[in-house]
Amino acid sequence: MRDNLIENLDSMAGQNFSNLEDLDLGFNKLSNSNGMATANFDGLVGLILEGNKLTEFPASLSSIPSLKRLYLRENLIENLDSMVGLSFSNLIKLEIASNKLTNLNGMVSANLSGLEELDVNDNEELHDVDILTAAELPSLSYFLVGNSTMIGCSCKGFEFFQRFVNSNENTCELYTVKTDSWDECDLSVVSKSCSPTTSPTPSPSASPTTSSPTILNEEQLSTGAIAGIAVGGVAVVALGVGMAVFMSGKSAATAGTSVTAKLDPTDV
């Protein structure tokens, strides 16, 4: 149903959609998902609501125990307060990039124990991401976050990443990354918080000499904005507007690739 003119889901109310496994309602004109609350989606595994006008996280989705993948990018969601106290324990992938999020507080008291991939990139006013710890997201292996407000010059976001790294007992091969806001970051501090597996010093060389980082999606790759990649069980990828962190061996194994990036010193 992608790219139609649907404004609401009222027609869903009370209906049985238990045979549906994947539903794509992306790029419609939805301002809420109220109609889903009383419908039966017991078999739904993937739901795409990206590119709509949702202003809050659709809390009613917690009643869909089968839901594993939820795509909410490019909406108008300001916070995740509606998640408070709810369980999304089977959710594996959650994309809330390109919204209006200012914080992730609502996730703290939600059950997201199965979440492996979280994308909150490109929420310009997002801050205090470090309120989340590995305790809240014990399965997280991929976290895409980053914008100038959050990272700032304190590298606070980066410390957050390292906590996850340490919790999974992974090592970290860290090279510097380039974003618009990293000029004032104390990269030496960042480096000390990692346990480099190889050289802790960025190699002043050319662009990535690498097999493709297949875990990145096509959109990310097509931006051509990748400034640096470092993988050794852990990958740090800097994009033009954000940063992706792959924190467990699982992600690296999924990618099935070994990636090495060398940065030009002028990038730092």
């Binding site: 149903m1 790219d3 139609n4 649907i6 609401n8 027609s11 049985n16 045979n19």
Partner: protein, 231 residues
Amino acid sequence: MKSIVWFIQASAVLAQTNAPTGAPTVTRPCTCANIHGAILSCAGQGLHSVPNFDEWPCPKAVKGLVYINFQRNELESLSFLGNDPTLYAGLQTMLLKNNRIESFDLDNFSLPNLFELNLESNGMKNFKWETFGAQAPKLQHLFLEDNLLPGFQGPFNGIPGLRNIHLQNNRFLEFDSRILSSLPSLVYIDVGSNNISQISNVEYAASISLESIYLGTNELTEFPAPFASIP
């Protein structure tokens, strides 16, 4: 497995290209092969019509084609099928993508073993659905995307074995759900990128096998709930 493959240069008959007068005519080889049945591939030859089999550069021993590939030619009709019914009656795959077949009508011809039919990108405006199912009862894959079809015109008596149908990027204004009741084996249907603003006759829709339906990039203004809840 024994495979006998002949590569034979196309005769002048095949070289009816649109080359400007005086320009050298380019001919490319058609391929005749015998792999689990006879296949004939003559894609991109600028063909405006398909000559009688006797004029083909294939050995006359080739009888009973199971596969033809006439993609990227200038064919305007399927009349060639009637030229040599014995030759084409056993067809399993017929690839006619990128021709100029504006109207599809098998007429009195039957393709009892046809499994796959590709008619993408023909500028097709008419498809005679009424008798098609009876004429091609074993059809499983039908590719009709990128045409000018306005919908399921006229009576539709179903295609019993059809599993996949591609109708994206046509000119459908509505989707008549009754079509699903006539396609009991349907697994996949794509009617995306049309101009569908209405899904009609939902109450008559039924499908016991449908797994995926694509309605993206249309003009629907509400979620077709009864339709999506078809068991």
